[in-house]
């Protein structure tokens, strides 16, 4: 008669097999290590992966912000649209992630605006990223340069706050 395997035994229990006192199995070769039920862990992981996959795909445009730039928060903001970005950090200016001198901002914006107007007639807008704790006078060169270049709309990047 075929002896049933240990796992096929009716008396097999992962927890019981770990008991050193009053062991429930007679098999001398009982495994000391209990079986770990990980199906619920797989379920939890799969739900987490699906959630993060959906979460990462539902966002709109992404704009990189330097570590150390704390953008202000606002309730009544619109979804971010990326066109030309002008970032100011510690009185240093970055146009589309490239450093630019303060006196050259207007000229470079003018070139970008002209190229933009050739591609379509929408006129374009400028996204401004600045730290909330810095003084407002750091934004002045951007406002003046944008006005000279022809950008009539500025989009101030903020961290959207729910109400």
């Amino acid at each position: 008669m075929m002896k049933p395997t240990f796992l096929q035994s009716e008396k097999y229990s992962p927890l019981a097999s770990c008991q050193s006192l009053n062991p429930q199995v007679n098999n001398k070769a009982a495994k000391k290590a209990g079986g770990l039920i990980i199906t619920s862990l797989v379920d939890a992981f799969s739900i987490l992966v699906i959630y993060l996959l959906f979460g990462s795909s539902l966002n709109g445009e992404e704009i990189s912000s330097n570590i150390g730039v704390k953008i202000p928060k606002a309730f009544f903001s619109q979804l971010i649209e990326q066109d030309v970005t002008l970032k100011v950090q510690n009185n240093r200016y970055f146009l589309n992630e490239k450093p630019v001198q303060k006196n050259q901002i207007a000229e470079q914006l003018r070139v970008l605006y002209k190229n933009r107007a050739v591609k379509d007639d929408k006129g374009g807008f400028l996204v401004v990223i600045a730290d909330q704790d810095r003084p407002a006078e750091e934004i002045n060169p951007i406002l003046i340069a944008a006005s000279e270049a022809g950008y009539s709309q500025l989009k101030m990047a903020v961290e959207h706050e729910g109400e």
């Binding site: 990462s56 934004i139 406002l143 006005s147 009539s152 961290e159």
Partner: protein, 156 residues
């Protein structure tokens, strides 16, 4: 001859699945965006833009001082009605009292009624975050917000 006992149960090794899922989760957590970014649209004048007709629409001018006080002045159409500017003092820590500003602005717009545009003029050393917060409050009243370059305290 004894028949060979055939095992009908089979085991699925879930360890590779768990490993792959852990890597996916670590990767997605590292690229996840937890803060939603938005934007506040600000209009500004460019070049020589002349008004079409002689009568200017009612508009407001909001001045932000470095002390944290806010002054709401009236321009154009409001001047004809002799509406006095509204001053909102700062709180004890020198910051703008945003709740009071919002309430005062609401009462003002309800009583005087027709302003659609507002120009924000901060003083040089006013924090950018306070300027944005003020513009956010103005946006909540569906006003067209413009931002003027900051000026010195004497000019303000």
């Amino acid at each position: 001859m004894s028949a060979k006992h055939k095992e009908l149960d089979f085991e699925i090794n879930l360890m590779p699945v768990l490993s792959i899922m852990s890597i996916c989760i670590c990767y997605l957590l590292s690229i996840a965006v937890w803060n939603r970014m938005g934007m506040i649209t600000v209009q500004q004048a460019i070049g020589d833009v002349l008004p079409v007709s002689g009568v200017n629409a009612d508009s407001l001018l909001v001045k932000l001082h470095k002390s944290g006080s806010v002054i709401i002045e009236f321009r154009d159409g409001y001047n004809k009605r002799d509406v006095a500017p509204v001053k909102i003092a700062a709180d004890s820590s020198g910051k703008v009292k945003f709740d009071l500003f919002k309430d005062s602005l609401g009462k003002l717009l309800n009583s005087t009624g027709t302003a659609k545009t507002v120009l924000v003029m901060p003083e040089n050393t006013v924090p950018y975050g306070q300027t944005i917060r003020v513009m956010d409050i103005l946006k909540s009243y569906q006003l067209n917000v413009g931002l003027a370059p900051s000026v010195s305290e004497e000019a303000l």
